[in-house]
Amino acid sequence: MTARPFLPAGLIKRIAWGRHSLRASVLAYLAVLLIIPLLVILRDGLQEGLTGFWQTISQPVAWHALTLTLWTSAVMVIINTVMGTLTAYVLVRYEFAGKALLNAIVDLPLAIPTLVTGVMLVILYGPQQALGGWLDHTLGWRIIFAPPGIILALLFITFPLVVRAVQPVLLNLDREQEYAAATLGAGPWTIFRRVTLPALALPMSSGALLSFARAIGEFGAIIIVAGNIPLYTQTAAVFVFGEVESENRAGASAMSIIMVAIALGLILGVEWLQQRQERKSVA
């Protein structure tokens, strides 16, 4: 900013003009790609007013799809947060053979299309397959075309999110407090719980929220793994797909609004958490 006065006046004018046209074209791009589509869905879903919206959502099939999505995602978030934090801890604190390989494998789910993830799980756990058939017959565990398949698919897809949120923070964590706790006689579990864990709370929660956001909208893996059985395995995204196919706009729009609202809330939450983390690491 202080360098500004040295620039010739004509140049400043030119830069300002270029800046405004650039800003305008970027805003136009975002408006066409992102904001107008989101507004159209809002308009369509609220056409019948809030009571119409509520009536559509509270119908048994829609309501079941929504609650199924929420509870399977919640179960996934709990498991993923624990295992993701543990994986990050092992990757940062321990040296062992195969560490670089493990670190690379963590990124795998980000690379694989989620539809392919679904195909992989069906091959492994499908009722006609060796492992899936055995689980079904001897233990009575149905995984494919049942809620456990949904949770498994979501776990696969979101695995990197918590690991990659926690890992850098853990890497930069000052270990002096842990050493101090150790010299004061605290056991390893107490140190982890009372010293390390509180320092990781922010990245863990932003990773968890991000996983949840990702899980709410997942479609490709779930339609393969869980199918489209209303009142049993039909999730919110699959519900929207069915309503679009049968040209039922009211149902599709109402459910879409809820999903977009959840996504927006979670993304803003993650943004807020990340900013707090940045401020914390600067301070």
């Binding site: 360098a3 040295f6 140049l11 830069i15 270029g18 650039l22 800003r23 074209s25 970027v26 975002l30 790609l33 992102l34 904001i35 107008i36 589509p37 989101l38 159209v40 869905i41 369509d44 295992m83 543990l86 801890y89 321990y94 493990l102 963590v106 795998l108 789910p109 980000l110 690379a111 694989i112 299309p113 539809l115 392919v116 993830t117 195909v119 992989m120 091959i123 492994l124 397959q129 498994l152 776990l155 696969f156 390893p188 956001a213 709410i216 909208g217 479609f219 995204a237 929207v240 797909f241 679009v244 599709a252 729009s253 879409s256 999903m259 996504a263 927006l264 979670l266 993304i267 943004e271």
Partner: protein
């Protein structure tokens, strides 16, 4: 003296062996989880594709409809990468360098495609461009087809891949700072010259990573393309849509081998980039 060392050893040793035991348990737990969650399904896919031999894979993949589907996917991915390289750069520049009210909200909105369901993305585009869509009269006037055609599928893929380029470029741009650009400007360089000769070379690795990640994500898009494109065989069927149809029609070898090829492509792209990035750092 001897007694002290003995005492110390008796205090330290058990603690350390407990530490080793705990360490091994945790590492084993992580490897077990990753093996069960990621490696086992991956091995399943490979064995499923190869279940009828490599000849079956080759003949399944060389069907004309499969080739057409893969070609469609590649075409969409290339166009999307091209557009995002241009607009993603502009967007990243504005988000880093410009200041205006509402910038933070805009910054958060860029991540929205990460969380909005692909089906909802396709549906939004259908509401805009579909038969009864908001823009239907306008499209009819100029005789442009967007829904159930290539432009719609490109728009859908553009939406879902929006964050990748921007998020790769932003940190690089932030670290690069503004001094060199200002120096170039005071020495009389035009805006374009400054960009091509100063900013672009500094960003080039960001570009490479952004392009690869966008490309990989575009290859795998399914839900949005299914809803807006309809998966019409021979016309709007991409590789993922072919896999979906092949499973439905019980052509398992075709579905599994196409899934394997698609998975391997994205895998090599993303892991290759990741390894290269680590090697360069």
């Amino acid at each position: 003296m001897i007694n002290v060392t003995k005492m110390r050893r008796s205090v330290v040793q058990p603690a350390r062996s407990a530490g080793v035991w705990r360490r091994q348990l945790l590492i084993g737990l992580v490897f077990g989880y990753v093996g069960f969650l990621i490696i086992a399904p991956l091995a399943g896919l490979v064995s499923g594709a190869f279940s009828e031999g490599i000849g079956a894979i080759v003949s399944a993949l060389s069907q004309p409809d499969v080739l057409a589907a893969f070609w469609q996917t590649l075409l969409i991915a290339f166009i999307v990468v091209g557009l995002h390289t241009i607009f993603g750069t502009m967007l990243a520049w504005v988000l880093v360098r410009d200041t205006f009210p509402g910038k933070r909200l805009l910054n958060a909105l860029v991540d929205m495609p990460f969380a909005v369901s692909a089906v909802v993305v396709g549906y939004m585009l259908l509401l805009l461009f579909g038969r009864n869509g908001v823009l239907a009269p306008l499209l009819a006037m100029f005789d442009i087809k967007v829904a159930f055609a290539m432009p719609g599928m490109i728009l859908a893929t553009l939406f879902v891949t929006l964050p990748f380029m921007v998020r790769e470029l932003m940190p690089v741009l932030k670290n690069f700072g503004i001094q060199q650009e200002q120096a170039a400007a005071t020495l009389g360089a035009s805006g374009w010259q400054t960009f091509w000769l100063v900013t672009f070379p500094a960003l080039r690795w960001g570009f490479v990573y952004g392009i690869i990640l966008t490309f990989a994500r575009a290859l795998g898009e399914f839900g949005a393309v299914l809803v807006i494109g309809g998966g019409i065989q021979g016309r709007t069927e991409t590789a993922t849509l072919y896999i979906f149809r092949a499973l439905d029609e019980r052509m398992y070898v075709g579905a599994y081998s196409a899934a394997l090829v698609l998975g391997l492509c994205s895998l090599l792209l993303v892991l290759g980039t990741e390894l290269f990035r680590r090697w360069r750092e």
